[in-house]
């Protein structure tokens, strides 16, 4: 009985992490480097614990609880730290290393809370190609460290 329970737990754990992890190399755009407290990733409406090492697709939504947070690094070296009680949706991403004329774009959607960003090779290649949206605003990033915050109450979005 105990063995069954452990096996079940392991199976559930594997299922949960497979939601977050993406198999194909080209499908993921950012990797989770740091997690504190309660942090989750939503993919296709399914929520799973966010784990260090998870590779996230451009459609993932990061969700954090009270006193929690997460740190990710994108493939172009852009970094983001998500604060407590936040929702950050990765909306669109294009970057291929070593192709200076190639597409470069990072779009993220801060639906709740605050997140800090340090831009990377995407804005070096194309200033303004990184955009962070909040319910009321759009921030176009020319290459910098910055903070985005939304205080728009969820019920007014």
């Amino acid at each position: 009985m105990r063995i069954v329970a452990i096996a079940a737990a392991v199976a559930i754990g594997m299922a949960a992490s497979s939601v977050a992890a993406v198999a194909a190399d080209s499908d993921w755009v950012a990797r989770v480097k740091r997690v504190a407290g309660e942090a989750y990733v939503e993919r296709d409406g399914v929520q799973a614990p966010l784990l260090v090492g998870d590779r996230l697709p451009a459609s993932a939504v990061i969700v954090t609880g009270p006193k929690s947070g997460a740190g990710l690094t994108f493939r172009d070296n852009t970094r983001v730290s998500v604060g407590a009680n936040a929702r950050l949706g990765l909306a669109d991403y294009a970057f291929v290393p070593g192709q200076p004329a190639g597409a470069a774009m990072l779009k993220a959607d801060l639906q709740n809370g605050a997140a800090a960003f340090v831009s990377g090779r995407i804005t070096e290649r194309q200033p303004g190609a990184m955009q962070v949206s909040t319910p009321a605003a759009v921030m176009g990033v020319r290459g910098t460290t910055f903070l985005a915050v939304t205080s728009t109450p969820l019920d007014r979005q």
Partner: protein, 343 residues
């Protein structure tokens, strides 16, 4: 008039002058009686309490008039003045008490940001909250309770609006090495501002125009430190250089690779990007193959240095993305490279 003065007894001279002035509508005398205080919020709070004192005096409630005068004076002087706790009043109506508790909790949260950016509105909310407390304790004048409560709600809403507390905002922070960049902040309703100095902040209210505002150090640091807390370490690039037409690693190359592997070992879930190039001597096809061989050499050396293949991201780019621009056919040492980026 004399009766009022007697009722006040030991009240400060300022209060007496005020009450006399209030009943006679002489605002000038009030200004003289109470010292001005430079902070706009305190000055506004002083005024708001005076309005309440005058109102009570006009209703012949001299005790309450005196209480509000004392609050006005407290606001005028450099004394910490925070919204009085609900507990300090005997309020029988449990629902009313809960309403007041909630109002106070919201009011306290408005001070960060509201005090600097919306002092008038915050002072209105603060004084009106205490007015509401006072009337709720008396409990026999629903119209007065309503009057105070309405003013509180109006002050609260105005503070949120004027201070941008319901807004979305962006702040430019000093980056690595003190570098300050720029963001544009656009309202979805139209309007855009450029933020390009350290701590420059832009606020966007629902549907309203973009506004600039300087963040107070305190509020900026509180939000920033939470949001920055889990920022991953910056990516670092290690360049490995090669002889012409070769994929061999000299000692400098091996040192760079060892440093990259050591760096990766210190990071959680490291990505190790291996990006290989050739210079523009020779044809495209052979240069592409050359960059592949260089990448393979670096990959093998990284594995030897203990790096985990699971973290590798490998790209060969031939001669098409030179670090230093040259005409085609030109040999250039700085272009014969593999860039290892550890992040």
């Amino acid at each position: 008039m004399r009766k009022i003065s007697r009722a006040l007894g030991l009240a400060a001279i300022g209060s007496i002058v005020l009450l006399q002035a209030c009943t006679s509508q002489e605002q000038v005398a009030l200004q003289a009686a109470i010292p001005a205080y430079p902070e706009p919020y305190r000055a506004a709070l002083q005024d708001e309490f005076r309005v309440l004192a005058a109102r009570e005096a006009a209703q012949n409630d001299h005790l309450d008039a005196k209480r509000f005068m004392l609050r006005s004076e407290a606001a005028a002087r450099a004394v910490t003045i925070s919204p009085l706790p609900v507990d300090a009043y005997a309020i029988d109506d449990a629902a009313m008490r809960a309403d007041l508790e909630a109002a106070r909790a919201r009011l306290v949260l408005l001070f960060d940001g509201g005090r600097a950016r919306a002092p008038q509105a915050l002072a209105l909310a603060h004084a009106s909250y205490e007015c509401w407390l006072e009337e709720a304790e008396e409990g026999h004048q629903p119209a007065d309770i309503q009057w105070c409560r309405d003013r509180f709600l109006a002050g609260e809403a105005a503070t949120r609006l004027n201070a941008g507390l319901d807004a979305d905002w962006g702040v430019v922070l000093s980056g690595d090495g003190g570098h300050v960049g720029a963001i544009t902040l656009a309202s979805k309703a139209g309007g855009e501002t450029l933020l390009d100095t350290a701590a420059a902040a832009g606020f966007v209210n629902d549907g309203a125009d973009v506004r600039d505002a300087a963040m107070t150090a305190r509020e900026s640091s509180a939000v920033t430190s939470d949001a920055m807390r889990l920022m991953p370490a910056a990516a670092k690039m290690y360049a490995v250089y090669f002889p012409s037409s070769a994929a061999t690693l000299d000692s400098a190359a091996r040192q760079a690779i060892a440093a990259a592997a050591a760096d990766a070992a210190d990071r959680p879930a490291p990505d190790i990007e291996i990006l290989g190039f050739a210079d523009r001597a020779g044809d495209d096809r052979s240069n592409y193959q050359l960059s592949e061989r260089r990448v393979a050499a670096v990959r093998a050396a990284l594995l030897q240095a203990g790096a985990d293949e699971e973290n590798f991201l490998i790209y060969a780019r031939g001669e098409n993305a030179p670090a230093v621009a040259t005409p085609d056919g030109v040999a250039e040492a700085r272009n014969r490279r593999v860039e290892i980026t550890v992040r």
